[in-house]
C-alpha cells in the first residue's frame, strides 16, 4: 500500500475540525450477537449532507454498525442492543417510531448488487409503489429522475422493460442506488458498495457518491482506505467493535492521533 501518495492527496485540503448539523446522534450503543459483544459503547454524530466513511479491518463491526442505523440488524434473531440512536431528534428505538418509516428515510445500498428479478423500471418503481404511489406519470418521472441521479439513465433508457439481471455488475449496483434514490431518502447507507465491482465501475460509483452528497447524507463502509480518503469528508476507524478514532478524513489519514489508527492506515495490520 502506497501511503505516501495518499498523504499528498489528502494533505491538499486539510480542514480544521468544524461544526456540523448531525443527522444521526449515536450514544453508548452496544450490540451483542448472543454472547458476542460486537459493538462497544459507540458514540459519535453523523453530519448532514456529507460523506462519512467507516473503515476498519474485516470483522470489526462495520456492517453491524451501519445496519443498526436503519435497524436492519434486528432481522438477526440473536441480536441484543442497548443505548440510543437519535435520528433527527427522534430515538429510532422508540416503539412509536416504526421501522418502515425509518427505512423510508434511511435508504441502504448493499455490498453485493441485489436488484429484484424484475424489469429495470419495476426495480426503480418498487419503492414509490410500496409507499402507495400508483400514478403512472409520477412513476415514470421518478424512474427517469432516479436513474439519471444514479448516472445510469443513458445506459438503460432504451431497455427499461428488460430484466435487471441482464445488466453488468457495475450497472446493477448503480441501479440499486437509483432504486434507493426513488423514494428520496434523507440518508443513504452504503455497505462496501464497490467491493464486488471492477475498477471502472468502482470509479463511477465513487463519482456518483460525490455528486449525491449535495442532496443526501451518506454513510459508507469501505475496507479500501484510498477510497475513504478519496470520497469521504469524515472517517471513523473501527477496531474490535470500538470507534478508535473519528474525525475529518484528512486529519485521520495525515495526522492520526491514535497509534492503532496509524498502524492500520500504514498497513501494519488489517
Amino acid at each position: 500500500m502506497d501511503i505516501t501518495i495518499n498523504k499528498q492527496l489528502v494533505q491538499k485540503d486539510i480542514k480544521k475540525e468544524e461544526q456540523f448539523t448531525p443527522v444521526f446522534k449515536i450514544n453508548n450503543l452496544n450490540l451483542w450477537y448472543g454472547q458476542d459483544h460486537a459493538l462497544k459503547d459507540i458514540k459519535f454524530d453523523i453530519p448532514e449532507k456529507q460523506v462519512t466513511a467507516i473503515i476498519g479491518p474485516s470483522g470489526c463491526g462495520k456492517s453491524t454498525f451501519i445496519k443498526t442505523l436503519n435497524r436492519m440488524v434486528e432481522m438477526i434473531p440473536i441480536v441484543r442492543m442497548s443505548g440510543e440512536i437519535v435520528y433527527r431528534e427522534k430515538n429510532i428505538f422508540d416503539p412509536k417510531y416504526g421501522v418502515e418509516e425509518l427505512r423510508t428515510q434511511v435508504g441502504m445500498v448493499f455490498q453485493k448488487p441485489n436488484p429484484f428479478p424484475k424489469s429495470i423500471y419495476d426495480n426503480v418503481a418498487y419503492g414509490p409503489r410500496i409507499h402507495g404511489i400508483k400514478n403512472k406519470k409520477v412513476l415514470d418521472e421518478v424512474v427517469e429522475k432516479s436513474l439519471r441521479g444514479a448516472a445510469i439513465w443513458d445506459e438503460v433508457k432504451d431497455r427499461l422493460n428488460e430484466n435487471a439481471y441482464g445488466l453488468s455488475g457495475g450497472q446493477q449496483q448503480r441501479l440499486c442506488i437509483a432504486r434507493c434514490l426513488a423514494i428520496e431518502p434523507d440518508v443513504i447507507l452504503m455497505d462496501e458498495p464497490t467491493s464486488a465491482l471492477d475498477p471502472i465501475s468502482t470509479l463511477k460509483v465513487e463519482e456518483l457518491v460525490q455528486e449525491l452528497k449535495k442532496d443526501y447524507s451518506i454513510v459508507i463502509v469501505t475496507h479500501n482506505m484510498q477510497q475513504a480518503a478519496r470520497i469521504s469528508d469524515r472517517t471513523a476507524f473501527f477496531l474490535n467493535g470500538e470507534v478508535v478514532e473519528y474525525t475529518d478524513t484528512s486529519t485521520l489519514f495525515s495526522n492520526p492521533s491514535d497509534k492503532r489508527t496509524e498502524d492500520y492506515i500504514t498497513g501494519r495490520f488489517g
Binding site: N114, Y126, I130, C176, R179
Partner: protein, 292 residues
C-alpha cells in the same frame, strides 16, 4: 522377505478387474430393464389402443357397444375435478409453505406441522378416499359430487405442493428480501411483491406435477363413490361424475378384449394429457432455472 506377495496380488488383480466388468454389465442390464419395460409398455398400449382412437372416441359417451364408446363424460369429469383441486390445493399449499418459511417461529408447533406434512405424503391414496367418504360425502352432505372429489384430491396432493413451494421459497436469496425491507417495505409487501413472484416458477412446476398425479389417481375417487358408468357431463359442483382413470378401470375390468382395446385408447389420451402437463412443468423449470 516382503510382506506382500506381488505375484499373488497380480494374479488376483485380474479376477478383480473381471469382477468389476461383470458387475458393470449387471448394473447396466438392471438400468436398461426399466427402459425396456417402458418401451414395451408404450408399444403394447399403442398397438392395442390406436385402432379405436378417433375424434368420436373423445366426444362420445360411454356405451355398451365398444365401437360407439367414448370418454367424453370422463374427460369433462377430470376437468371438473381439476377445476376444484387446482385452486384449492394451490392456495392451501402455498399458504402453508409461506407460513412455514416466512412466518413460523422455530418451535415445537412448527416442527410438528412439518413432520405431519411429511407423514401425510406417505399415507396411501385410498385412505384419503375413506377420509373424503366420511367427511365430505357423508358428514358435509356433499354426496359423491365433483366438489367432494375435488376437495379430497386437494388434500391428497397438498403435501407435495407444500414441499415443492417451500423449496422454491427457500431458493429466493436473502439479499433481495433485505433490499425490500431496506426500502421500508413491510413483511407482507416483501412476500407478495418479491418473494412470491420470485418463487412462483418453482411453485408452479411443483403444483403442475402434483396435479398431474391427481389426474392419474383412481382409488380415492372410486372409494368416494364416483360413478363408473356415466352418460352425462357434470353441470355444477354438486353433480355426480366420473373421471378418466375410473373409466379406464371400468373397461379394463371387463372380460371382453374389445373393452381392453378401448382402455388402451383411453390410456393414450390420459398419457398425452400427462405428457402435456409435465412438459409445461419442465418448460417452466428450465426457463426460470438459476436466475439468482
Amino acid at each position: 522377505m516382503s510382506l506382500i506377495n506381488k505375484e499373488s496380488v497380480k494374479k488376483r488383480m485380474g479376477s478383480r478387474v473381471a469382477a468389476n466388468g461383470f458387475a458393470k454389465f449387471l448394473f447396466i442390464l438392471a438400468t436398461s430393464f426399466s427402459l425396456i419395460v417402458l418401451g414395451v409398455l408404450i408399444y403394447r398400449i399403442l398397438v392395442d389402443g390406436l385402432p379405436y382412437l378417433s375424434l368420436d372416441f373423445i366426444t362420445n359417451f360411454a356405451s355398451r357397444m365398444p365401437e360407439r364408446a367414448g370418454i367424453w363424460a370422463a374427460l369433462l369429469g377430470t376437468i371438473w375435478i381439476m377445476a376444484v383441486t387446482a385452486p384449492v390445493s394451490f392456495i392451501l399449499g402455498v399458504g402453508t409453505a409461506i407460513y412455514l418459511e416466512e412466518y413460523a417461529k422455530k418451535n415445537a408447533f412448527t416442527k410438528f406441522v412439518q413432520v405431519n406434512i411429511a407423514n401425510l405424503a406417505g399415507v396411501p391414496s385410498i385412505v384419503f378416499g375413506l377420509l373424503g367418504l366420511t367427511i365430505f360425502v357423508r358428514l358435509a352432505g356433499l354426496g359423491s359430487s365433483v366438489l367432494a372429489g375435488g376437495l379430497t384430491m386437494s388434500l391428497l396432493i397438498l403435501p407435495v405442493i407444500v414441499v415443492a413451494s417451500q423449496e422454491a421459497i427457500r431458493t429466493v436469496p436473502k439479499e433481495i428480501r433485505e433490499a425490500s425491507f431496506g426500502m421500508g417495505a413491510t413483511k407482507w409487501q416483501t412476500i407478495r411483491r418479491i418473494v412470491f413472484p420470485a418463487a412462483l416458477p418453482g411453485i408452479l412446476t411443483g403444483t403442475i406435477l402434483a396435479l398431474s398425479r391427481a389426474v392419474g389417481e383412481t382409488a380415492p375417487l372410486l372409494v368416494l363413490g364416483a360413478l363408473a358408468y356415466v352418460a352425462f357431463v357434470p353441470e355444477n359442483l354438486f353433480s355426480q361424475f366420473t373421471v378418466l382413470p375410473i373409466q379406464l378401470y371400468n373397461w379394463t375390468s371387463r372380460p371382453q378384449e374389445d373393452f381392453h382395446m378401448l382402455a388402451a385408447s383411453g390410456i393414450i389420451i390420459l398419457m398425452i394429457i400427462l405428457l402435456i402437463m409435465n412438459s409445461i412443468a419442465v418448460y417452466i423449470r428450465n426457463k426460470f432455472h438459476k436466475r439468482f
